[in-house]
């Protein structure tokens, strides 16, 4: 469904040039949830933005078997939609939910607006009463539901998710992740999820690409991640850190790992 080959993105020119993504390649079959994990500045979001056509990239991008060029047609744009991290920043504060959801329909010249908006709201677990509200009248979780409804309303095949839950409380994160999985199953979507949280990625994805300093260092299936079997030293370090900060199930294992750390810290000179 999605294939990128030797994708590179550079910002700026000359001495101040920054290579945000260097030679990234992967292929995502239809119906897979693929994860992109890494720390801030690794280039995860830039890969997503290149796929959505928001930044200029070198290399090959293929979506639904079709090579993408700098200018994309309406059918190509409709196929791929994006959900951003901060729902407050990504929804126009001056527009009511009704208008936010009507806009993609107008752009893609879809009719039956009333029914589609009602259905989109119902699908993300909101009711009619939310249709005529402004973003500031909604909670963070509800706002992210609106952002998801907006992404889905024109019937895309691919959903790009850029840290969709990292601005939310844990209990709300659980609701949104459950919702995304339900929608994925119901619509047979292909999803690309970017997150810094390994636990979120492991919960949602079938395969995971680990990014570090603009490069994909490793692509591994989730089962191997769960067993802690990453090959690349950077992936291992990332995994170890998330054990320590408590992203694992077993507190005993976490504590043991931590005690070991303390010992080595105390033995360090100084």
């Amino acid at each position: 469904m999605i294939a990128i080959e030797n994708l590179s993105v550079t910002f700026g020119a000359g001495q101040r040039q920054i290579r945000a993504v260097r030679g990234a390649s992967f292929a995502i079959p239809r119906g897979e949830i693929f994860g992109l994990v890494g720390e801030s500045g690794a280039g995860k979001s830039t890969v997503l933005r290149a796929l959505a056509g928001l930044v200029r990239a070198e290399g090959r991008i293929e979506i639904a078997g079709k090579a993408m060029t700098a200018r994309r047609g309406r059918t190509d744009l409709r196929r791929i939609q994006m959900v951003f991290q901060d729902p407050y920043g990504s929804l126009n504060p001056m527009h009511m939910v009704d208008r936010i959801l009507a806009e993609p329909l107008a752009i893609h010249r879809l009719d039956d607006v009333d029914r589609r908006i009602g259905q989109a709201l119902a699908e993300v677990g909101l009711g009619r009463e939310h249709r005529f509200r402004f973003p500031h009248q909604l909670s963070g979780g509800q706002r992210q539901r609106i952002a998801i409804a907006r992404a889905l309303i024109a019937g895309p095949e691919i959903l790009l998710l850029d840290e969709p839950t990292s601005a939310l409380d844990l209990s709300i994160q659980a609701e949104i992740l459950n919702l995304l999985r339900r929608l994925w199953r119901a619509h047979g979507l292909t999803m690309l999820l970017v997150s810094h949280d390994l636990a979120v990625i492991a919960h949602m994805c079938q395969r995971i690409a680990v990014m570090n300093r603009a490069e994909i260092v490793e692509i591994l299936p989730v089962e191997r991640l769960r067993r802690g079997e990453a090959d690349h030293p950077y992936s291992r370090a990332l995994l170890a850190a998330s054990y320590e900060t408590g992203e694992t199930a077993n507190p005993g294992r976490r504590r043991a790992a931590l005690e070991q750390d303390r010992v080595s810290f105390n033995q360090a000179p100084g």
Partner: protein, 283 residues
Amino acid sequence: MTETPILAVEDLVVRYRGQHRETIALNGISFVLGRERLGIVGESGSGKTTVGRALLRLLPPRTEVTARRLDFAGQDLRALDEAAMRNIRGRRISMVLQDPKFSLNPVMTVGRQIAESYRVHHKASRKEARERALAMLEELSIREPGKVFDLYPHEVSGGMGQRVMIAMMLVPEPALLIADEPTSALDVTVQAQLLTLIDALIRRRGMALLLISHNINLVASFCDRVMVMYAGRVMETCRAADLAEARHPYTRGLLACRPVVDETREELATLARDPRWLEAAEP
């Protein structure tokens, strides 16, 4: 817990007075803190940050703070005037905030900021303060303290900036450190390093730590006890090691709704909030 508690709080109530309505941010919080590490966990709006700010009297004007008891090292914090309070803040109780980008002075080298923090609270020459600051940086595992001393905040990374903040807060040798989401703005690999570092320093100096965070698992790994807050009340306090056997449905819900790396689940548990939690809070 030791003989004399460092902190004893009983029935702490904080009300924010707006023009039209009053918001109760804390609704009767009580806890005792010894030379230990206590974690305060809760979701946004639970009042966890207000606890730290109320202790240091850092709340905005028109906020009403009442408590039956608010003792720090045997001293009644309620009775202190502003001058005496200034002696407590920074000197005896200090606070590390979430994002070093906003809490460091951008036009002063990080080293001078640490040295200043020492000189505000101790009679010392510039030279002595500088030495203290350098020693502190070294204690925080900064490799070339002399070099880092002369850097401006924008020249250091997020993790380094937060170490500088911690150095500033610990150099006056306080008895209690309040860390409010100290690592939430940082990458995971840096988070673990920094928390291990804070932990080692706290232990070495025999200080008390109040770690405020939204991440219940993180708090459980780094603290002795965990206090779970919801809507301005304490739902439950338990030993971190016993968190898996927590009784309160809110605590259990918080633990269950988080995805974990080494477990497969089709659906994540969601939290059903029960209005009765607000009545049946822990005494």
